[in-house]
């Protein structure tokens, strides 16, 4: 069996860069059981060995409060890695070594990788590596993750360290807690527990995740009489030890009052008056480059996102043409043709055409994240979003939702807690996406000629208002138990590294493409089948009243009666449009086009179609219909993104139920109140 090394360290310590350096393209990403935190694993090949490297979540401590910390602890204790590589950022020595003092208490062999970032030279500092090695009692190797220096030596020493047995050591020996720890440690040693010293300290801290028998409980109760606050005492003793014994290994000639580059940059980037405009400008640029029709309003020049999306759509069209050509010459039956070209290529193609925009959003997101700006964005926006139960970090995914929900939902990965992630994902579809625009355009032309701009703007406002209301409701009734403290490091700014960016984008895309190949393929085929066949499995005209979808539309029509848009005999048509809208919101308009025009090749922009719509809907019922499409289930692509990010059937179903319910209530209110007013 290959050796297994765990990579542990603070967030922003260069851990990801080191992981990518060691494992290269062999890395694969999954999830830790039960939580949506990335579990990254890869293989290191070198020094004549093959070693599995597991990247533990970035943590500041091994406390029992956050899922990240519990994951790291459980991994070390239960999966017994052969060695822990503890990456320590020298620019932040004290806080990084705080985690080290906790890792040292386990029996696991440890090597410290001192990340000598370029910041150290800029800060005119020097570190006494040998002195630190003496003080810590474990090997210390200097590396530069960013410039890939020192990793060979690190791994060479790591391999020889992994072969030696080690037992835990604590900096709490010879303190006022010495007696208590000795007692707990001896007791655990006798009972044969693994990592006895680590557990002994945890029991003294009052950690609920470490089982304590009666004797241990008695010991703790006695201690509580002596110390009023053991958790604080332990943290305090650790930091005191670090300042006394380790901090002198870092020698700095820099004047402490001199500002670092990051501090200077923040003078502008988080400035009282400039901070918000700069942030909005960044957001606007990202949005514009990804979703903009015309680059910087130059007619005929598309934004990179639109250009790439157009290219992807062109390729898919070409594929459809080739396949239909082949099918025709082979004399394939209608249903083979329909299934392959309209169903599979059309459906999956529509989903894959999002790939370029997902790539761009992730490119920008990774730049913001790697550079350290994303923490500043959260700092700037936190107050605004907190009212709706979110934190500042949710702003960017929500904003991207106006372009497309799919990359936005995937972008919630940058949020810190499961709770924030879930809440943000539920709210994203309320940011009216680009594909909903044609629906507004149709009704604007048919019924709101005088006030079309006002009406469209109103739909966007309706979406935002519903998001705010939903945030407040969900915060109050669903996500009430967990208030996430906002204690966030503002890391030094770094230049993003291309290699990291590309790996990051690839990891995201891979998951989405796999989903497109499975969930989306199946659901597209199912809906295609329902729209083209009747109950006797005979092929009928697409989406017609005889199709199974038409029958379903008729059967569930009654649900929509209070919403006002299914009043007339052919009301089932709008229901079918809503149902096909689940494939893609663009399908709403094309379905209405097919159903409300007699000719098979409906001219959707045609005057007769618009006149029919104007005669069928009233302004109020049209608003109700648009609101329902805006607020209910977004589309198959967004749903599959949601499913893959929620990692929980329960939460996926909850989201769907919540959307449909909110959509129904809002549409009902619009129709009822609107009818009273007019």
């Amino acid at each position: 069996m290959p050796l297994k090394f765990a990579l542990a360290g603070n967030p922003n310590s260069g851990k990801t860069t080191l992981f990518n350096e060691l494992t290269g393209s062999t890395a694969h990403v999954g999830n830790w059981p039960g939580v949506t935190i990335d579990r990254r694993e890869g293989r290191y090949k070198g020094a004549g060995e093959e070693i599995d490297i597991v990247d533990l979540p970035g943590i500041y401590s091994l406390s029992p409060y956050t899922p990240e910390e519990l994951i790291a602890r459980n991994f070390i204790i239960e999966e017994k890695p052969d060695l822990i590589i503890n990456i320590v950022d020298v620019t932040n020595l004290e806080r990084n070594l705080y985690l080290t003092t906790q890792l040292l208490e386990t029996d696991c062999p440890i090597i410290v990788a001192l990340n000598m970032s370029d910041q150290l030279e800029k800060r005119k500092s020097y570190i006494d590596r040998a002195g630190l090695e003496m003080a810590l009692g474990v090997p210390v190797v200097g590396i530069s993750a960013l410039r890939s220096r020192g990793t060979d030596e690190l791994m060479k020493r790591a391999i020889s360290t992994a072969r030696k047995k080690r037992s835990g050591h604590t900096v709490l020996w010879h303190t006022q807690l010495d007696d208590a720890i000795t007692k707990a440690y001896t007791h655990l040693l006798e009972t044969g527990a693994s990592h006895p010293l680590f557990k002994a300290v945890k029991i003294i801290e009052g950690d609920i995740h470490v089982a304590a028998d009666d004797e241990m409980k008695r010991l703790r109760d006695d201690l509580k009489k002596e110390f009023d606050d053991l958790e604080a005492t332990v943290a305090d003793l650790r930091y005191k030890y670090i300042t006394k014994h380790f901090s002198r290994c870092l020698k700095t000639t820099q004047n402490q009052n001199e500002l670092s580059f990051s501090e200077k940059a923040d003078k502008i980037l988080t400035h009282k008056f400039l901070g918000i405009p700069i942030f909005l400008l960044f957001m606007y640029l990202i949005f514009h480059l990804t979703f903009g029709e015309n680059l910087f309003s130059i007619e005929g020049v598309p934004s990179p996102g639109k250009l790439m999306q157009g290219g992807a759509e062109y390729l898919i069209d070409q594929l459809a043409n080739i396949v239909s050509g082949l099918l025709e010459s082979a004399g394939a039956s209608d249903w083979t043709y329909g299934l392959l070209v309209d169903g599979i290529i059309g459906g999956v193609g529509a989903v894959l055409s999002f790939v370029p925009q997902i790539m761009l959003v992730f490119f920008f997101l990774s730049v913001l994240e790697d550079s350290g700006y994303i923490a500043r964005a959260a700092f700037i926006m936190d107050r605004l979003l907190r009212r709706f139960g979110l934190s500042g970090r949710s702003f960017m995914p929500l904003l991207m939702g106006f372009g497309c929900s799919v990359p936005s939902i995937l972008a919630t990965r940058t949020l810190e807690s499961d709770r924030d992630r879930r809440l943000t994902m539920i709210l994203i579809p309320y940011m009216s996406c680009g594909a909903k625009m044609p629906i507004y355009a149709l009704f604007a032309a048919a019924l709101f000629k005088q006030h079309s701009d006002f009406m469209v703007f109103g739909m966007y406002v309706l979406g935002i208002t519903t998001a705010v209301t939903s945030g407040i409701i969900l915060k109050k009734f669903v996500f009430k138990d967990s208030v996430i403290p906002f204690i966030m490091e503002l890391p030094d700014y770094h230049r993003p590294r291309l290699r990291n960016l590309l790996l990051h984008i690839w990891e995201k895309l891979k998951g989405y493409i796999i989903k497109a190949g499975t969930i989306i393929l199946i659901s597209t085929v199912v809906i295609w089948f329902l729209a083209n066949f009747d109950i006797t499995l005979k092929m009928v005209e697409q989406n017609s009243a005889d199709s199974i979808l038409g029958k379903i539309g008729n059967a569930i029509k009654f649900i929509f009666v209070p919403l006002g848009f299914v009043g007339k005999t052919d009301g089932w048509k709008s229901v079918v449009a809503i149902l096909t809208g689940i494939i893609a919101k663009e399908a709403v308009v094309s379905t209405l086009g097919v159903l409300y025009t007699s000719a098979a090749q409906a001219d959707i922009a045609g005057d007769t179609f618009i006149a029919t719509i104007a005669a069928t809907f009233t302004p109020v019922s049209a608003l109700s219909f648009m609101a329902f499409n805006l607020l209910s289930i977004p589309c198959v692509a967004a749903l599959s993104a949601l499913t893959s990010e929620m990692k929980s059937t329960k939460w996926t179903l909850f989201s769907i139920a919540f959307w449909v319910t909110m959509a129904w209530i809002v549409s009902f209110l619009i129709y009822t109140i609107g009818s009273l007013l007019i």
């Binding site: 604080a232 943290a235 305090d236 990051s262 700092f379 700037i380 906002f486 490091e489």
Partner: protein
């Protein structure tokens, strides 16, 4: 004089005396190096008035005013 971090003026420094609160919030503050004796410098307030940015153990940390109010400090103190 006993005040909390929330009361510090921009670029004013003070030493931590005690961290109030409980559970996850308190432990996170302690883990981040806000322990008795540590010196905290107020850097700035976010554009919308909350959260705040402080400097502790030579790095920048952002906390909300609600959390800042849990950190009792003493001006002119320190290790």
């Amino acid at each position: 004089m006993e005040i909390t971090v929330k009361n510090l003026k921009i670029s004013e420094s003070a030493a931590v005396k005690k961290v109030l609160g409980s559970g996850a919030v308190r432990r996170r503050l302690l883990d981040m190096g806000i322990t008795p004796g540590a010196v905290i410098t107020m850097i700035k307030t976010a554009p919308l008035g909350d959260p705040i940015e402080i400097k502790v153990r030579n790095y920048q940390l952002s906390i909300r005013k609600a959390e800042a109010d849990l950190i009792i400090v003493e001006k002119g103190g320190g290790d």
